[in-house]
């Protein structure tokens, strides 16, 4: 009998333990970071969990950006959605259209009574995720902008002054000529061609990428990526591709491997390529601002961001949203953001985090890490340079990739390819417009 009672007791305590542990409110956070970035996110979450007793954030890796978004959508349809979902900038219009599925960040903050000042965020970052009447819908998390990476050893090897001015595409063109003449196999390589060579190109020169303020002012936007400037730029790139001065490596950031191994001289890639390049590059490298075409549009205006923001999903209990608010506040606090910026090369999304980084002397020790910040903030964003908000944008980028490949392969002229991209993209936009109704 005594043994029996002990058994009951033992069973009882084991059964009770998990209940005691789950007294903390759990908050699910689904993200798209693996490798080094995944570790950094895990550290942030651990620190948040250790810093307070009321909430436990569980961070789950759900695959790449597209997969994470799909996981979130599928989970919502099944009523199993996480509290916080990381969505890349291209998915912004999809999330905004999902009224009833997402709870805007300004509302989460307001209801929880947490301190929240939207003006603390860098304008160009905030603008991307804010409605035209100034309400912040999602919390900017990781934002980057394209810059020009330079392999100084390659330039020197070709007899070019590694400090040569690469401010404009004309100057870059001359350097490419010299590199090719010196027998370089890979003078220029790029990542994310649509983002850098069309979306950012347009914003940087203050010309529209799509009508209706790049989609911010209405879902009836049409693509305008086949304008004079874009066609001229893609035509030039096509010419470089034909002459072997621009090497195409793929639709995503495949070119990063070519640059980090030291094969390529110039590389247009996100500022967030910093962590990888710094870790792997066995050569002397440099970060320069993204080049522009002298005299075209209002260049240099400002470049736009890529990356992701955090969306709060509907369908949870009120106390859980308080935890969400606390977690989001923690993530955008100055020390966390400053550390993130310095570790990854992503932009400091708050003004204070940028200043803290400067005060700590980081930019002096790591020259070039502030290029992206300056490039983003050099001018007040215009209607053409605050971002792009188009439905089905992930797939439109796929279409743009296909059409650009036709240019690089010499199958189509820049004009034909971009006209076709506009026509095909507009079809998708019209379909998306109908779902948003």
């Amino acid at each position: 009998m005594k043994r029996f009672a002990l058994g009951i007791l033992a069973a009882g305590t084991t059964a009770l333990t998990p209940i005691a542990a789950s007294a903390q409110t759990e908050i699910q956070f689904w993200h798209a970071f693996t490798g080094r970035l995944g570790e950094l996110v895990a550290t942030q979450v651990e620190e948040f969990n250790a810093a307070q007793d009321d909430y436990t954030v569980t961070a789950v890796y759900k695959g790449n950006y597209s997969e994470t978004l799909n996981a979130g959508i599928a989970a919502f349809r099944a009523g199993e959605q996480p509290h916080v979902l990381m969505v890349f900038e291209v998915g912004t219009a999809t999330m905004m259209g999902a009224e009833g599925a997402v709870r805007p960040v300004y509302q989460v903050m307001e209801e929880s009574g947490a301190e929240f000042d939207p003006d603390a965020y860098i304008g160009a970052v905030k603008g991307y995720y804010t409605t035209t009447d100034g309400r912040m819908l999602s919390l900017p998390f990781n934002s980057s902008t394209p810059v020009l990476w330079v392999n100084r050893d390659r330039l020197e090897g070709a007899g070019i002054d590694p400090d040569t001015d690469l401010t404009t595409w004309d100057q870059v063109g001359e350097v490419l000529d010299q590199l090719a003449a010196a027998g370089e196999q890979c003078p220029l390589v790029t990542a994310w061609q649509s983002w850098i060579h069309l979306e950012n190109l347009s914003a940087y020169h203050d010309v529209p990428f799509a009508s209706q303020e790049n989609g911010f002012a209405g879902a009836d936007a049409e693509l305008m990526l086949n304008g004079e400037l874009q066609v001229a730029h893609i035509a030039k790139m096509g010419e470089w591709a034909k002459d072997g001065k621009f090497v195409y490596t793929g639709r995503r950031n495949e070119g990063g491997a070519n640059f980090r191994s030291g094969d390529c001289a110039l590389f247009t890639e996100s500022s967030a390529g910093y962590a990888g390049i710094k870790a792997e590059a066995g050569f002397d490298f440099d970060v320069r601002p993204l080049p522009y075409w002298e005299g075209a549009g209002n260049a240099p205006q400002n470049t736009i961001i890529g990356g992701a923001s955090l969306w709060v999903m509907e369908g949870h209990e009120a106390p859980e949203y308080e935890g969400v608010a606390e977690f989001l506040n923690y993530l955008s606090s100055t020390p966390v953001q400053a550390q993130w910026h310095q570790d990854t090369g992503y932009l400091p999304i708050t003004i204070a985090a940028g200043e803290a980084t400067r005060d700590a002397g980081f930019y002096d020790e790591n020259p070039g890490t502030d290029v992206a910040v300056m490039q983003m903030t050099r001018n007040e964003p215009t209607a053409n340079s605050k971002g792009i908000r188009l439905g089905s944008f992930d797939q439109i980028r796929g279409i743009i990739d296909e059409e650009l490949e036709a240019v690089w392969a010499g199958d189509k002229t820049a004009q034909e390819a971009l006209d076709s991209a506009k026509e095909r993209g507009d079809q998708l936009l019209r379909r998306f417009e109908r779902t948003a109704r």
Partner: protein, 293 residues
């Protein structure tokens, strides 16, 4: 006279087919029915609202030249995958069948690739043909051939065909090998005594006797190339360059899960279902007549 075994009453036969019927209902009829239903709507991604549009998703698709081009791409891709996975498999099976020593070892080694998941196979081949560090592309470069499947449409198609066929050869090998074992030795010996050489014996006796297996594999491989090759294409080319490797099933994925256009994606699944169904019926109607069981 036919010898027929019949059940008395209905209870037992119904009970016996119940598990299979249940599986079909849950994993085929229910999702297929959902696809047909959804193909009549334009829903938003989160399932919060949807509008009935009748057959508009279908007319939209069939009016799209890029969708029609995907049909041609699929035909070329499936034809090549079926051919490249069956012919080498038959050749290897015939060779392994002739072995006296070490047949077991060869057999095992030949079956191994089947254990590799398509997406993993895709990554392996992608690595070998990587334009920068790939072993094969390096050798091709030494021979003066500039391999670049990132921009060259023909090379991209070739690569996904090889990667899709490779693991499949093992599967086909297994069936051909088993079928070869079942070919009566006496028939072959009689032909040999009559003076028929190996390849003549193969084409006039063995191949016709293999026809049931060949037919079965043809049907199964066509279905495989339509559906299961998704992982290979996703990891190697993502449907590119341009649209060179965008087969129908890949377009279902990209419209549904990249574009979140579930209406169009469902309509495409329905079309795909009809195409594969029609193809299988045709195969049974016309090819099966030439099969000797």
């Amino acid at each position: 006279m036919d010898k027929r075994v019949t059940f008395k009453g209905w209870a037992l036969p119904l009970l016996l087919i119940a598990p299979q019927a249940a599986i079909s209902a849950v994993f085929f009829f229910y999702p297929a029915g959902q696809a047909v239903w959804q193909s009549l709507f334009i829903p938003d991604p989160f399932g919060l609202s949807s509008q009935f549009v009748g057959l508009e998703n279908f007319t939209y698709l069939l009016g799209d030249p890029y969708y029609r081009a995907a049909f041609a791409t699929t035909a070329v891709f499936s034809g090549l995958v079926t051919l490249c996975s069956m012919v080498p498999a038959l050749f290897l099976a015939v060779m392994a069948d002739r072995l006296v020593k070490g047949a077991g070892t060869y057999r095992t080694l030949l079956i191994w690739p089947y254990a590799v998941a398509p997406a993993v196979a895709g990554v392996l081949w992608l690595f070998m043909f990587n334009t920068r560090v790939g072993v094969v592309s390096w050798y091709l470069g030494q021979l003066g051939y500039d391999w670049n499947h990132v921009l060259n449409q023909g090379e991209a198609m070739g690569l996904v065909v090889i990667a899709s066929s490779w693991g499949r050869i093992s599967y086909n090998f297994l069936f051909f090998f088993a079928a070869l074992q079942a070919v009566p030795k006496s028939v072959i010996e009689a032909a040999a005594i009559d003076g028929a050489r190996f390849w003549r014996r193969f084409f006039t006796i063995v191949l016709p006797l293999l026809s049931p297996t060949t037919f079965f594999l043809l049907v199964v491989n066509v279905v495989y190339s339509f559906f299961e090759t998704f992982g290979v294409i996703h990891t190697i080319t993502g449907g590119g360059p341009q649209q060179a490797t965008t087969i129908l099933v890949y377009k279902v994925f990209s419209d549904g899960f990249v574009g979140q256009d579930l209406g169009s994606s469902s309509a495409q699944s329905v079309i795909l279902l009809l195409v594969v169904g029609a193809l299988t019926v045709l195969q049974f109607k016309f090819l099966e007549k030439r099969v000797h069981y």
